[in-house]
Amino acid sequence: MTSFRTGLAWTGARMSKLMLHLLGRGATNFPGKVAMKIQPRMLSLLCENENAIQITGTNGKTTTTHMTVDILREAGFYVVTNVSGANLEAGLITALMNGKKGLIAARKKSIPTAVVLETDEAAFAKTAGKVRPKVCVVTNLFRDQLDRYGELKHTRDCIAKGLDACSAKVLLNSDDSLVAKLRDGREDRTVFFGLSAESMRYNNVTYPGKSADLPASSDAEYCTECKVKYEYASRSFGHLGDYSCPKCGDKRQKPRFYVTYDLKTSPSDVGFPLELHDGDATEAVKLSVPGMHNFYNSMAAVATTVILGEIIDDSSKLNFSACSKALMQTKAAFGRMEKLTVGDKKICVLLVKNPVGLDRALSFVSETSDADSLYMLLNSNVPDGKDVSWIWDVDFESKILPEKVFVSGDRYGDMLLRIVYSGIDEQHVRYGAMKDCEKLLDEALAACTPGKCVYVLPNYTSMLHLRKCMVKRYHLKDFWK
């Protein structure tokens, strides 16, 4: 009965995929939805005997997933992964159904296989028991669309629930007090990754940034157990750093995998030098996807693949040295630091979905040498979160932004106000509603100095819209094909 049901689920999914393609639409979620309806155990069946990895957390999921996939492929693995944005159960199922044939064929040829699934935090609670991953990564916990999830503690509870539904090795960010707490009760299967505490301290002291008049809103200043403010010996960004609670003694754990770095040059430049460490082993690498937040994503991806290698006993291919070298070959993920060349100018798209993402993107633009202008797009559709007031949580004031600023999106008025309140002269800002978004991109490009770059910071649906325009104009490959 079950197999008949499963067969029917496959047929239903295939037909819906065909239909969507005939209609010219991407099919990253719907076929999985159909399959789930017919066979509720679909995800569980698809993940039978797979080397699965799940990556969750509020920021950096997509990039970490992307890097992990690239490292595995470089090591000769056949890898199936989901498309960014399709990270709920239906999206995971769709990806696995599309990839199942390939997985089976690869195994027949004795090619090693893996499944790497970026998973939404709430969906993680429901899917980890079905996916039965060998490794789970929790990147970080920052405020993110709180209208959807309620609060961060709830988000963490969802992740905890998922971790308890599987027996995976748990890879946690040591510098995030909210994430690190997930080790409680899972000590024997937890591994930490982070930045070196010594490095953070050295860089804090050597290159103190411009301080803000009004500090950015922060997420985890207090120990949730003791209601006492954490003391920080050093910080990387946001609430990430070398923290300790003066009352209960809860403190950052020394990570097995850690990054050392020196900010004497800008981490916004490709090729920024880093050292990755696995205990006593060290590998010098160059950052392939720029931005300081990618120190964490890079380390997480290498750690994930090394740990998978240990679990499946394949350390000949997935060892620390090989994985670190493979990391340097990785490219930016969809909408994350994606650079596009248009004549002698460039467009770089940085998706921003929440305060810390926007803070990192603005820092990036502030530090990079090729920024000509900044183009912000803000929508408030359901996938974006209806509430856009989070833009006020971000410290724009201490950033050194380009003089030319463009603003669009359904909520361009809110973003325009935010920009002007940060001290940018309104005369230098060009703006318009979503219908003008292409026109404004043209203006930004026309005004751009040759050799320089227009930095576009959209949120989710405004990125999809802009991306669609760009696919058409610059003949890009559609991301769902």
């Binding site: 609060e151 509430d387 007031s389 833009i391 006020w392 949580d393 008025g413």
Partner: protein, 252 residues
């Protein structure tokens, strides 16, 4: 004569949800346009709140974890002085959680009552369904903003599961034109008592409502310097644009 005011930003490290910080940025910006020297001080857990030091107080909203962390400190340690400040006419802006905390109690789903400050005659009941939407309210007491029409129409965004009910000693802040307001039933939003303004509208509240920002500043000036303060209207072109953009988005 140049004026100076001191703003107390309470618990910015705990109550900082949904862009409440924007309200402080607005007060700073409009104060500077009105040539008022506005000093901002922050106080948090275990700091003393000395009412006589401040002309304005801002209290935002937070996540439940954070609000539970500070409620005891707010009610028991700072409470008596906060009540004194309110009776003394200090200007307060309280948003969402901060608003609820000034009331008598917050009743949770299961009927558990959390005692609050009781400075204002109101109480809140927690419900399952959250109100998450754009809001428009109307008030009748705001000063003019130069070249701005409809300055008494307020644009906001609400994001709350609590339903607040006002007692007879407290007036609502505004009439709801769009959105749920205090409880989705009586057509009113927020609370107004002495110089205390309470609202469910988050971080974009003051930035898009310069007349309200001006009202808070002017009220604090009058309290400190007397009715004779010089006050000139200042324009708000970008704010007007943002208001028009929201109105267009909402199809108004």
């Amino acid at each position: 004569m140049s004026y100076s005011l001191t703003l107390c930003h309470m618990y910015p490290d705990l109550l900082n949800l949904y862009g409440d910080r924007g309200n402080v940025l607005s007060l700073i910006r409009r104060a500077s346009l009105h040539d008022i020297d506005l000093r901002v001080e922050t106080i948090s857990l275990s700091d003393e709140f000395n009412a006589s030091k401040y002309d304005l107080v801002f209290l935002g909203g937070g996540q439940d974890t954070e609000q539970n962390m500070l409620r005891g400190d707010f009610v028991n340690n700072k409470g008596p002085e906060v009540k004194r400040a309110i009776e003394d006419g200090v200007v307060f802006l309280c948003v969402c959680g901060g608003y609820q905390m000034l009331g008598k109690y917050y009743e949770e789903h299961d009927g558990t009552r959390i005692e609050c400050l009781g400075a204002l005659d109101l109480y809140t009941v927690g419900e399952d369904v959250r109100f998450i939407q754009d809001t428009i309210y109307e008030v009748d007491f705001l000063p003019n903003v130069k070249q701005m029409t409809n300055s008494c129409i307020l644009y906001g965004f609400e994001n709350h599961s609590g339903r607040t009910y006002l007692g007879s000693d407290v007036k609502p802040l505004a009439r709801v034109i769009r959105g749920a307001g205090n409880n989705g039933e009586d057509g009113f939003e927020g609370a107004h008592y002495n110089n205390v303004i309470c609202t469910y509208s988050h971080g974009s509240f003051l930035p898009k409502n310069p007349a309200m920002t001006d009202y808070l500043l002017r009220t604090a000036l009058v309290r400190k310097y007397g009715e004779e303060v010089t006050w000139e209207e200042v324009e708000a072109p970008v704010e007007m644009l943002a208001r028009e953009a929201v109105a267009a988005y909402l199809g108004i």
